[in-house]
Assembly symmetry: C2
Homo-oligomer: 403 residues x 2
Amino acid sequence: RASKMDANDSIKILLATDNHIGYMEKHPIRKEDSFWSFDEVLQIAKDREVDLVLLAGDLFHENKPSRKTLHRTMAILRKHLFGSRPVGINVVSDQSMNFRSGQVNYEDENLNIELPIFTIHGNHDDPAGDGELSAVDLLSVCSLVNYFGRVHDHKDVRITPILMAKGEVKVAVYGLGHIRDERLCRLFKEGNVKWVQPVGDMNDWFNIFVLHQNRVRHTPKGALTDDMFPEFLDMVVWGHEHECLIEPVKGSAREFEVTQPGSSVATSLIEGEAKKKHVAMLEVTKSGYKFEPIPLQTVRPFLIEDVVLGDEPSIDPKRPETITEFLASKVEQLIEQAANENKPNKSYPNLHMPLVRLRVDYTGFTTVNSQRFGQKFVNRVANSEDILLFTKKRSLGKRPTLA
Amino acid sequence: RASKMDANDSIKILLATDNHIGYMEKHPIRKEDSFWSFDEVLQIAKDREVDLVLLAGDLFHENKPSRKTLHRTMAILRKHLFGSRPVGINVVSDQSMNFRSGQVNYEDENLNIELPIFTIHGNHDDPAGDGELSAVDLLSVCSLVNYFGRVHDHKDVRITPILMAKGEVKVAVYGLGHIRDERLCRLFKEGNVKWVQPVGDMNDWFNIFVLHQNRVRHTPKGALTDDMFPEFLDMVVWGHEHECLIEPVKGSAREFEVTQPGSSVATSLIEGEAKKKHVAMLEVTKSGYKFEPIPLQTVRPFLIEDVVLGDEPSIDPKRPETITEFLASKVEQLIEQAANENKPNKSYPNLHMPLVRLRVDYTGFTTVNSQRFGQKFVNRVANSEDILLFTKKRSLGKRPTLA
Ligand SMILES: [Mn+2]
Ligand SMILES: [Mn+2]
Ligand SMILES: [Mn+2]
Ligand SMILES: [Mn+2]
């Protein structure tokens, strides 16, 4: 496939993932962050007049979102979904196989939907409890999203694509909601994952695979690798990993491209989450595609820095107050840096107030009370309660996280 | 007002209340009951082509309905709400004053609603928690119901009617969601409940008041009495009381009529809940109204009987097995009676299996182990686990219940 655009029809897809709606919903400063960013994602989708939004899981942060979070999410969806712009794509696959609800929402003649959203579930919002329902099912039964990629037989996984056509452009979306890595690896290795392919020439279709699994090998229990996926794929949209690595890269053992959009809100104060966050527009034509990362404007600034107390001449081990003084001056620097890069915005009160994380190698020194230290920065740093993270022996490497 | 029908336009209202959706949702036999009856209520509304459904609270049994119950309720609502039959009524009052959502759902041009449902909240589904949201708010934000009658200032209650017009017929619906009886009584007595009246001649309007409070004076703390309500009302729809007393009766101190629809599912095994359950069609014309109770077909048969062991010659106090024998024969009789009156229906598996309650005055005798007794009637009585209720000294009078 060439990656050059044709003047012909195209299918425009907004890619985003891991919105973690409801994250920190009770935090005095950060409570709005996840809602603002999800709202922005949908606003971008509307402004760009995309044909669909494709989300890769962890729409909700909690398996049982609070009533308030559910209510607000529904309100945001309603605000953006409805309208009279015609939906350009046509779902030509068996919808009863694709969707829990049995039908793509915009084909319901009782609803006037102009922005169809398709999502799989993540590990945060996976199906659970009586009836094995996901919180996403509540949105689905109200026709607010199209929930797909759910595996019904965990011994024999069949990935049945949603086939979308618009004029001569054809996109097949293969979805796989989160399954425990170990189990899914085993299923792949034992050949129990079947890819249902459209009838006819596979080359007619632009084949997208959307999943929500560990990508980096965090633990010895293993994660998926892209050589487990079939050659016929054109693009893999990898959810769950929060670091924005959205620019597509070639698979390690395959020709397809892999995009990792990353989360729209930082849920861990680690390096990967400090990168600028994006969504992307994928525009597929008959002969290729165009890919455009779009930076999010509603993400709270997050600055992270590593310091080693032993390297700082201003610190006197016999005068612990010099540690506090040094760390406070570091935080002041980061606050100033954030202030230079981010201006207040009336629409998003306090959003310019940064997250700051100092990782402090204190080998040979004592720690500082992190809570008390933070009191100096209340209302200047969004996470004043946990600015400092003390580590020893420069062991500042990556640690496993639950994304 | 005459109660004779005109040939003119009319506004048809289906009255129902206390659906307690989700009640006993985990019970092996009774789990479907509340869903079936709510579904039937809406089916009746559709079949009768009413202009609206008016519910008087306790739509949900639990303040936090399970995900499964929410999901299923949404599915039932969606099944009945949508369609192309034009809605005949026009809401002419300030909708932002009436509805939490700011707009009556069928006026949303993005939705094709043919059956508008209006509801207040009850004590079971009252607003609570962060954001003071009711479970009904989740239905409201999805445009599945029109939630009204919520008091925002608990010191100064204003009851603002929904004004509905259809041709020359005009109906004003005053709603008041559940408030603690004691508090509400005080508000009434201190003159802090204001009734906002429509401009113009009050006689042009058929004035309905829908509330959800204790009606019977259960406790010394007092309940509302209808002399607290204004003279201009034509009909009071009284929710919360589960006994079906749907046929309108004159107020005790006022000229208006009071209808108490009662619950659509029995949530206590007491006499009041054993009565045949109904909803009603209220048809308002320019010069009067017609009122038609409609029996529900999906209510589980419930038979209740009082026995006094001391009155039974077959019982020998020295032979406790004679007590069990006597009680078992009584239950057999009730099962037979239920079987004669209710036939199995494939659409509602097990619905003909009755609820049976024997209230046993055992003065002078010993009790029987109720659990063990019930084992004989598993799969013949829907509540085999709690058939027997032992009382003393013939104190079989009414006891307070939380309806
Ligand atoms: Mn995840
Ligand atoms: Mn995530
Ligand atoms: Mn009640
Ligand atoms: Mn009730």
